[in-house]
Amino acid sequence: MSDFVSLLERLSRLTTTPLLIGLLVTVSGMLLIRNWRLSLPLMIAQYVVVGILMARSVQPGLALIKLASGVLVCLALSVAAQRADDQRSKRGESVASDRIAGVSWRQIPARLLVRAAALGLMLTVAFGAAQRLNIPGVPRELLFSATILAACAMLLIATSPEALNAGLGVLMLISAVELGYTPLESSASVSVILGMMTLMVGMTIAYLTLADSAPDDAPVAIQS
């Protein structure tokens, strides 16, 4: 564990620019491509970047809680998404891997353009908000990252009808809150509750992802 902590501490000394670029790449990728085989690795990468950014202002051990809970959640979500895809493939529906292998170039540009335009709009809003906001005690790069994450999370929630993508939006919003708030309240109890919150929300999204994959609504049999 101490190796991880020292690694996180060393990574937190990196310059801000590559971390912010990494964050922008992950949020853009998740917003533009709605395929869990790409979204979940991007989400793990995002948790790593968020963990490193947090380690710049709080103890690396506390930042590691965030990183570990985030990675655990992504692993649970990938298991749920794989099981959901197995059910779909049994019914002969297209699954995530098929959609990557056989990209339909005729349909994608229109969707991509709309999403890219919305992303551009939200990033502009986030940049504007980050310029105006000034919270004493919160480093500028953390505030900037938090606003980007929050804006993109809102967009992801608003534009995703399915549980997995909307759930990833919810998790991104929680990351944004943690980035903005943890430097102000760096106590262990807050970090533990925030980690627990990420895990609970992650487990709920995994359950909903499985429920979302079935063909029809099948209510529980009445017990009478």
Binding site: I135, A150, M154, I157, P161, E162, A163, A166, G167, G169, V170, L173, I174, A176, V177, G180, Y181, L184, E185, S187, A188, S189, V190, V192, I193, L194, M196, M197, M200, V201, M203, T204, I205, Y207, L208, L210, A211, D212, S213, A214, P215, D216, D217, A218, P219, V220, A221, I222, Q223, S224
Partner: protein, 472 residues
């Protein structure tokens, strides 16, 4: 000596374990819930009588420190928790024959424990974080065991809206702390407006009262009816209590005009819910409008902050649980026979058999009680609420009465569709045992009986309202 605060949080959480293990036996599972909630209610009553008499007991109301954070039951918390657990007893009791999935009782008990912790924990930031954990668990209850594409919309909407409230509340908490820690008078005054706006916005989102389509419609459509009743009763009970707790911590929030946004969104929710209720074409959608009106009314009462308004808030909690519980039983019987509760599909259902008749009776009494019809349990809360609001804003009281009439019209349209003769009648396959038939009818009658003899609820409400105002 057992700390009361700890006992209240831990008891329902511990009861969730046997409830989960016994989930195949509905009665045993429900007994776990009922016994634990009754034990908590008794503990709250015993602690109250002991503190009044000055006697010592095995329960102590002194604060408990967990991870350096204080859990303590204040005077007003005690009454609100009592109302919360009493409402839960009613909801759990009424769920004995509903199809709620395995998640309802075990997760419902954990939710109750966490809601109690959110109410009594200080500082306020922990209440916010616990509400997010509660939202994650409630999403599981909403989903229950339903599966299918787009069936998760209600659960995910509830979770997303609660999460969106999180940044607003955390920012408000930060600003309030800045104001209280600073010696600069200008800064203290400067943070008040943004903090109160963010606080009100966060609470409005948590209450689902934002008029533009939050989680109310998706919840009533996707969740089992008794889960809707649980969420609309228990979760919506906890949020006003947290608002009151925050107001007690921050002196400048105690004024009547400290949270003006609560009033604005309260009125908007009542107007939207009332304007749309009569025109809805399914019971679930009328119920969603009724929940919007209830949330809006709660926000208005919170903003008023008088003894009468807080009393009517407590009565509203209790009566809502009864009305919603009875309504949920009726909806559940109907949904067991037809997947949807659209009025068009239910045309002539009343003539399909005794189970449909008892469902129609439960829907009529529950729905009209929720609308506040005289002679039902809901009338008491409607009357107290109107009286509390009319003393300052008679127009608003009239608006609430009109919204209630609109909800009643919505439910009556559904009932009249059920009563109509239809040539394309689908037989209702749900068969109720004689004992179930009598129980459902008895519970529906209790709505009327409670409406005619509401003294015990009024007594609790009077004491709770005074305790809250005295604590200020």
């Amino acid at each position: 000596m057992i700390p009361l605060a700890l006992a209240i949080v831990v008891t329902p959480c511990l009861a969730a374990i046997p409830a989960y293990l016994l989930r195949r036996w509905r009665i045993a599972e429900l007994m776990c819930a009922l016994i634990s909630c009754t034990a908590v209610c008794l503990a709250l009553l015993v602690a109250n009588s002991d503190s009044n008499a000055g006697a010592s007991s095995f329960l102590t109301t002194s604060p408990v420190l967990i991870f350096g954070r204080s859990l303590q039951i204040h005077g007003f918390d005690q009454y609100m928790l009592l109302a919360l657990f009493a409402s839960s007893i009613i909801i759990f009791g009424l769920s004995w024959r509903s199809s709620n999935g395995w998640t309802f009782v075990p997760i419902g008990l954990v939710v109750l424990g966490l809601l109690s912790a959110a109410i009594i924990v200080r500082p306020f930031i922990f209440s916010i974080l616990l509400m997010e954990v509660v939202a994650a668990l409630v999403a599981l209850m909403i989903q229950a065991e339903h599966i299918g594409e787009r069936s998760t919309l209600g659960a995910i909407r509830f979770l997303a809206v609660t999460t969106i409230a999180l940044p607003a509340l955390i920012a408000a908490n930060y600003l309030m702390n800045q104001g209280s820690e600073s010696l600069d008078a200008a800064l203290q005054l400067g943070v008040r407006e943004p903090a109160s706006l963010l606080l009100a916005l966060g609470f409005v989102l948590l209450m689902g009262a934002f008029p533009l389509y939050t989680w109310t419609h998706t919840l009533t459509r996707d969740a089992p009816p008794i889960v809707t009743a649980f969420v609309a009763t228990c979760t919506l009970c906890a949020v006003p209590v947290i608002v009151i707790a925050v107001q007690q911590e921050i002196p400048w929030l105690q004024g009547r005009d400290s949270l003006p946004l609560l009033r604005t969104f309260g009125i908007l929710s009542i107007v939207f819910g009332g304007a749309l209720a009569w025109a809805q074409r399914s019971f679930a959608r009328v119920l969603a409008c009724a929940i919007s009106v209830e949330s809006g009314a709660s926000l208005l009462l919170l903003q008023l902050g008088t003894v009468e308004s807080l009393q009517s808030l407590v009565v509203g909690m209790m009566m809502r649980s009864v009305s919603l519980g009875v309504l949920a039983i009726g909806l559940d019987i109907l949904r067991a026979s037809r997947e949807k509760d659209d009025f068009k599909l239910l045309r002539g259902a009343f003539h399909a058999g005794p189970s449909a008749r008892v469902a129609a009776f439960a829907l009529a009494t529950g729905g009209l009680s929720l609308a506040g019809l005289p002679g039902t349990a809901g009338f008491l809360s409607e009357w107290l609420r109107s009286r509390a609001v009319a003393s300052t804003d008679p127009e608003l009281a009239a608006l609430m009465l009109v919204a209630g009439a609109s909800i009643a019209a919505g439910f009556l349209r559904g009932i009249s569709a059920m009563l109509a003769r239809s040539s394309t009648l689908i037989h209702v396959p749900v068969r109720l045992r004689r004992s179930e038939f009598i129980s459902v009818a008895g519970v529906a009658f209790s709505v009327v009986i409670l409406g005619l003899a509401p003294q015990w609820v009024l007594m609790l409400a009077r004491v709770a309202g005074l305790a809250i105002v005295n604590a200020r």
